[in-house]
């Protein structure tokens, strides 16, 4: 599969009074055309900042660095602000966690959708409205044409997230970055939105990077999964491989925390991972997970191993970052 997005050695640093916070540490992954890649990890592991870094939307003082940041053959690292703006919202689009606050309360849905197209093309106001109405229908907003004249506060959370998705599609993007798009929604609406994303991929060949902490979402949607911990990628591979044969103790710990109907005996205790995430300020000498890992050896405290292919199926593109042999 030809990659649409290639990320190599992405780092995000945030200067703080206590020292530099290395929020994203040497993260690499690829997204193929029409592929859904999930980035999973707990709060503060750097997954959201990774997604914002791709869009060049990092907050104020955060700094981005990467050995390679390539989107459809374009090097994002050397792009001017203006050229980046032309890509953003056009060929690469993003939706966010909070549909309730992600739309501007002062403008109609139609106005906000139309400007997403009109700032990139010469489309007329009427053409932009027409496309907005089509896309609202595509993402399953009932009575879409009437909604164009409505304001965000007149719509429910689920509808607003659908509007956000439709708005992101205005420029016919090749890549959609979705930062926890269902976290703030009811479970039933969550399933609908996820189904919609999958459906869009199937119909339009859209590539999707989905940021989530919900392993159920990953299992349902992802082709490939990247597991992040404390700013680093600890395991990566096809979702069946990673979930079927997790090689890193952290991935295994995460999977143990989730009940699986039919597999988890009723009344049994769910797993939990003891301890807390290490501080991301300054360097972490060894494996960042060592302090919480029940398999940690002395070597783990001094040396962070590189990502290496998982032993069981090396050809599947499944790799992990641990000194252990990765036997689940």
């Amino acid at each position: 599969m030809t990659p649409i997005l290639e990320v190599e050695g992405l780092c995000v640093d945030i200067p703080t009074p206590a020292g530099t916070l290395h929020a994203v540490r040497d993260v690499s992954f690829r997204v193929g055309k029409g592929e859904i890649l999930c980035i999973v990890g707990e709060s503060g592991c750097g997954k959201s900042l990774t997604s914002l870094a791709l869009m060049d939307l990092l907050p104020g003082r955060a700094r981005r660095e990467a050995r390679r940041l390539s989107f459809a053959g374009t090097d994002l690292g050397t792009l001017s602000q203006k050229a980046m703006r032309n890509l953003r919202g056009n060929r690469m689009a993003m939706i966010f966690q909070e549909p309730m606050t992600s739309l501007n309360p002062a403008f109609t849905i139609g106005n906000q959708m139309a400007e997403a197209l009109r700032c990139h093309t010469r489309a007329s106001a009427a053409e932009a409205r027409e496309r907005a109405a089509e896309l609202l229908a595509l993402v399953g907003v009932p009575a879409g044409r009437d909604r164009l004249n409505q304001y965000p506060h007149q719509l429910s959370g689920g509808l607003r997230q659908r509007v956000m998705i439709a708005m992101a599609l205005m420029g016919s993007p090749d890549l959609l970055i979705a930062d926890e798009p269902t976290t703030a929604l009811d479970v039933t609406i969550q399933a609908q939105i996820l189904h919609l994303l999958e459906d869009l991929r199937d119909r339009t060949g859209l590539s999707i990077v989905l940021i989530t902490h919900d392993l159920g979402v990953v299992a349902q949607l992802a082709d490939r999964v990247v597991v992040m911990y404390a700013g680093s990628v600890v395991e990566e591979g096809p979702v069946d491989e990673v979930f079927g044969r997790p090689a890193h103790p952290y991935t295994r710990g995460l999977l143990d925390c989730v009940p699986v109907p039919g597999r988890t005996p009723p009344g049994s205790l769910l797993g939990s991972i003891p301890g807390v995430v290490p501080s991301l300020i300054g360097a972490i000498p060894g494996c960042p997970f060592a302090a919480r890992c029940s398999f940690a050896a002395d070597a783990c405290l001094t040396r962070q191993p590189p990502l290496r292919p998982a032993p069981l199926q090396p050809a599947a593109g499944h790799s992990f970052r641990c000194v252990l042999e990765g036997s689940a």
């Binding site: 953003r88 992600s102 002062a106 403008f107 700032c119 506060h153």
Partner: protein
């Protein structure tokens, strides 16, 4: 929007009626109008004659209704001091005050809005500090002193502007700057605070994610939401300038309502004071109404309330 407008309009009328009762009561509470009109040397029969002639012996509600109907027709009675219709005096003075107030508000907005926006884009930068310095100075400096400094500078040291009077546009430059500068800090600080809050919001991130030009993000998406409290404040400031520009009008010898009000109070010219209170508070009510409607237009969520 129409339902909301009608509701606001009804409210404004109610407030205006309350104000008119207040300004009518003001005259009666201040003493017997017949005694005030008759003057010091009047005899008891003179006072009684005046009371009969002007109808002060009728019940108060009747007098109020009579006064209100006349006031609505522009008849505010006669000034006790000048012995001429108050309405003619007002027609003479109001344009000056309105011009000064309008110019001063425009000045305050032209300085306060951009400075507030820039300060919010670069918080704690040198420009933010400068804006803070300007606003602290504006709030701390006595108006009359600043006015005199300007007169010394621009009428005496560099004779560019006339020090007093209201004949040409040049006469309005210094009063506008003095009165406007006084209103600038609040507008600037409120703009800055609003912009800071809005710029950190999720929908601004969405606007940037769309690839919009930073100027569009700032002026369309951010400013529209940040400016709402500034609109309400501007209406209050404008109302304040109409009534409270006495100091500036006196220093620059601009013959406006502020000066007239101050002089009429010291002369116990009650019909004039009463008329000025009524007219200025009516303007105030209208301004608040305009601000409310403007805000409802800016923020659709207000229209529902």
């Amino acid at each position: 929007m129409l339902a909301y407008s009608l509701k606001r309009l009804l409210l404004a009328v109610l407030v205006a009626v309350t104000v008119s009762v207040g300004s009518f009561a003001l005259l009666r509470a201040a003493g017997d109008p017949a005694v005030a009109m008759a003057g010091h040397s009047a005899t008891a029969s003179d006072i009684e004659f005046i009371r009969e002639t002007y109808g002060f012996n009728r019940p108060l509600p009747v007098q109020y209704a009579d006064w209100l109907v006349k006031a609505l027709q522009g008849d505010f009675g006669e000034s006790l001091y000048f012995r001429m219709p108050v309405s003619r005096m007002l027609a003479d003075k109001l344009p000056t005050t309105m011009t000064l107030g309008g110019l001063a508000l425009a000045f305050a907005l032209c300085v306060g809005l951009p400075l507030g926006i820039i300060a919010a884009i670069r918080p704690n930068s040198w420009i933010d500090r400068t804006a803070l310095l300007i606003s602290v100075t504006g709030q701390a400096m006595p108006t009359f002193w600043f006015a005199l400094v300007l007169v010394v500078l621009f009428s005496i040291t560099f004779p560019l502007l006339p020090p007093s009077g209201s004949g040409t546009w040049k006469h309005f430059v210094m009063p506008t700057v003095v009165l406007g500068y006084y209103a600038t800090p609040a507008i600037m600080r409120l703009t800055r605070a609003g912009m800071l809050e809005v710029l950190a919001s999720d929908y601004i991130r969405t606007a940037r994610a769309k690839g919009l030009h930073p100027a569009v993000v700032l002026l369309k998406h951010a400013l529209r939401n940040a400016v709402i409290p500034v609109v309400s404040l501007s209406a209050v400031q404008f109302g304040f300038m109409l009534g409270g520009s006495v100091v500036v009008e006196t220093v620059f010898a601009l013959h406006g309502t502020g000066q007239l009000a101050w002089e009429s109070i010291s002369r116990s010219d009650l019909p004039t004071v009463q008329a000025i209170v009524l007219v200025l508070s009516s303007f105030y009510v209208v301004l608040s109404l305009i601000a409310d409607l403007l805000n409802a237009w800016l923020d659709p969520r207000i229209r529902v309330a």
